[in-house]
Amino acid sequence: MKDGASGPDNNSVTRRSFLKMASSMGLLAGLTGALAGCDDKNPKHPGGNGWLPNQYNAAGNFPAQVRGRVPIDLDNPSIMRDNQKCVLCGQCLETCENIESVYGYYSLPIVDETICIHCGQCSMACPTEAISERDDTDKVFKALDDQNKFVLVQTAPATRVALGEEFGLPPGAWVQGQQVAALRRLGFDAVLDTNFTADLTIMEEGTELIKRIKGEVKMPLPQFTSCSPGWIKFCEYFYPDLLPNMSSCKSPQQMFGALAKTYYAKARGIDPASIVSVSIMPCTAKKFECNRPEMNDSGYKDVDYVLTTRELARMIKKNKIDFTSLPEEKYDPIMGEETGGAVIFGATGGVMEAAARAAYFLITGQEPPALFLNLTPVRGLDGVKEAAVDIPGVGTLRVAVCHGMANGRKVLDAVRTGKAPWHFVEFMTCPGGCIAGGGQPRTAVPPTDAIREQRLASLYKADASLPKRKSYENAEVAALYQNFLEHPMSELAEELLHTEYHSRANKLHPLLFKAV
């Protein structure tokens, strides 16, 4: 080529020839590229874009931490998982293994079912909300729309200190009255309180405890509480030999269900077949519990649908109810009264404290001293708590409280080896008790002790402020005994309010220590 500084003529020719050359080069390059592809050392293959490749709207091999996850059966009645959301962070594994000591505590191969105690703690820990409660709101909406159905609802002690969090209120906000108002506006025909059967549970369970201590029933000590369905399934799986220690009482929810379709139906003159019994629970395991074959003693399914706190919030939002501006309303009568002893059922140690108050009265016939109204050793978030209270006539009542099944294991192992000094042990599946149940609002993920403490404080504050703080003071419970059941552990009470549980040992090969 000539000198670079050439005339415009020359330039235009150059441009044209350049374009020509460029286009032919392009063709050539394309062809060669296509032909050369035959000895491509690293052929392009589909996939392999990396973890979370579109996280920041750009492809990349973001070094995500992936650990796997817990197995969840598709027909799990309590929880389900959206594979689209799962990022395999392993938080569910962490929870299931270290807090509930379920995953990893059975040897492989599995037998025939996926081992799950339905506690839903994994759904609390899941950062992407891939694991959620099984949504039953559609069924409840459908029942509410059915004019031929009498839809009654019970609310667990712990939902009233957490539901507000779904609507922007601070953790532990006391929304009992608004919750009742919201349920009425959703169209429930009767809004009743599980606290009523919590008090009833104390009467039954306390009576049973005394009978065990006095040797009137030939059942071993310590007696275990039976309010927490996750714990019951845990015991059936891993400690079936200790099932005789389990109180025969049903949980408050199931007692309520059995009474709703018998006592309540009779008192209100409603055909029990037309009753749809719904419960609002902080718990996913309750969804499993209400489907247990043992829970049909009313002649019907005792509790038809269980909704978690989160589902209730969803229903309220769906119906566009302005929750925070609702007036505070009261529960409907004959199964709506509460005492402080029932309110604290939602807290770890609460059942024990309420039972202690009642036991003192049932044994001595006297009001318990102030100590029993503020039984601090069983309060708080320590994993295993112990207390010893003196009750005149029987001596020292030794009790233990544990929450989270990893802590439960320590107590159970002690009982199994016969080293347990206790008369009565409270087990709560979820750390902190029902207030931090698997169906509660996901205010912090994973749940924190700070939030647990705020909810606990709210419950104890309510207990302290109530005029009646002991279960035996519940007038509606007294009326129930007078008009229907006669006395605690009567024949009818045994039929409706008590049950027995069966070993699930053939469903797994348990390990005493963590596998891996």
């Binding site: 296509a34 032909l35 592809g37 035959c38």
Partner: protein, 390 residues
């Protein structure tokens, strides 16, 4: 030869067939825009369906008449069969074109069709099939060029000269290539060792395929000759057809013997009689489409009659189609699971393609020197081919 004008008689039937072709073309358009799933019933379990099983495998088999006739006429120089040679070549060429079109329709990434020319996946049977079919189609087009230039008097001497020079080479290649790929169409299924029913799977399935494609040729020539004669009010070349039956007869007998030996050698002979669906289909294929034609061809009373030779030929052709469909569908059904039946759209495309084949055949026959000139006059032979017969 003096005619300058191109003719194409339009009849009601032909209008219908043109409409069918247009419908098929429209469906193909949809298939190219929305993918195979939009028009076919194909699935992951049934990756190959009507277009491959019938249009490609059967189409190629039916077009096998071209190479067997070429072998008989041009290599063995059995000149008495010359009258049908060009017709066989034409059917074969159109058959291959149809097969290529259906293949093009069926492959998903059609713009990559040239890849195997560059990336030599020689370990694949399909590689051999692909090369042979494309080369053979080119050769057939070249061979047909000879005929084409008889009609289209473009004086382009070098072409004709070159063509005549290399014609022997083309002829031989035009027999070797189809031999290879007809057998390879069978070899395609050798790899499906644990999927294809043992009644059809065999290490010598390529032999069965090429052999049947070969004996299919005379039968095909018989049928299409008869059809053409009927359409154009000519006298069928019965003498040619009944002579050809000898070839078919012996090849059918050998086919049957080898089949029996193969089955007993692999120890699956008894499974042909176990009453299963597959065994019944197999027996039907062997008795109805192999043994029955053998009997018909063997009986002089049937062989020499027009109806007899045509019926037997129809049976042979149907038998080969039945065999291919058995390999693609019946034999694979159990291991693939699921169900496949061609969708209406698939069927319409197939019908459209075969209509196109018939239309093209008619057009070419009416405009090019394909069929024997003197045939409709009388049975007096002028051509040397006929004199040899006498």
């Amino acid at each position: 030869m003096q005619k300058k004008r191109w003719t194409f008689r339009i009849t009601g039937l032909r209008i219908l067939m043109i409409a069918l072709v247009i419908i098929a073309a429209l469906i193909c358009l949809i298939r190219f825009i929305y993918g195979l799933g939009s028009v076919t019933n194909l699935s992951d379990q049934w990756p190959w369906g009507l277009w491959i099983g019938f249009d490609l495998l059967c189409g190629i088999a039916l077009a096998g008449g071209g190479f067997s006739t070429a072998l008989i006429v041009h290599v063995l120089h059995k000149d008495k069969y010359l009258p049908i040679a060009r017709a066989a070549l034409l059917t074969s060429l159109i058959g291959y074109l149809i097969a290529l079109v259906s293949l093009f329709l069926d492959i998903g990434r059609w713009y990559n069709f040239w890849r195997p020319f560059v990336f030599w996946g020689f370990h694949s049977v399909l590689f051999e099939v692909f090369w042979c079919i494309s080369l053979y189609t080119v050769i057939q087009i070249l061979e047909f060029g000879d005929i084409f230039f008889e009609r289209v008097k473009v004086y382009f001497p070098p072409y004709k000269k070159i063509l005549h020079k290399i014609m022997p080479f083309l002829l031989i290649l035009g027999i070797v290539l189809p031999t290879l790929h007809q057998s390879s169409l069978g070899s395609l299924y050798v790899i499906a060792a644990n999927k294809l029913n043992p009644l059809w799977w065999s290490m010598i399935i390529p032999f069965f395929f090429v052999w049947s494609a070969f004996f299919l040729g005379p039968a095909m020539a018989t049928i299409e000759g008869t059809l053409a004669a009927k359409t154009y009010h000519r006298k069928p070349e019965l003498h040619v057809y009944s002579d050809l039956t000898k070839v078919t007869l012996w090849m059918l007998i050998i086919y049957l013997i080898v089949k029996v030996i193969d089955l007993s050698y692999r120890g699956v002979f008894s499974s042909a009689f176990n009453g299963s669906f597959e065994s019944n289909m197999f027996l039907f294929e062997m008795i109805g489409f192999v043994i029955l034609p053998i009997i018909m061809y063997a009986a002089p009373g049937i062989r020499t009659k027009q109806w007899g030779v045509v019926t037997a030929s129809v049976l042979v052709v149907a038998g080969v189609i039945f065999n291919r469909l058995n390999v693609v569908f019946t034999g694979m059904a159990k291991s693939l699971g699921g169900q496949y039946f061609p969708s209406l759209w698939e069927l319409l495309v197939t019908i459209g393609m075969w209509s196109a084949l018939i239309l093209l055949y008619c057009f070419i026959v009416e405009n090019f020197p394909i069929l024997n000139k003197e045939e409709h006059v009388s049975d007096r032979r002028v051509s040397s081919g006929a004199s040899i017969r006498a």
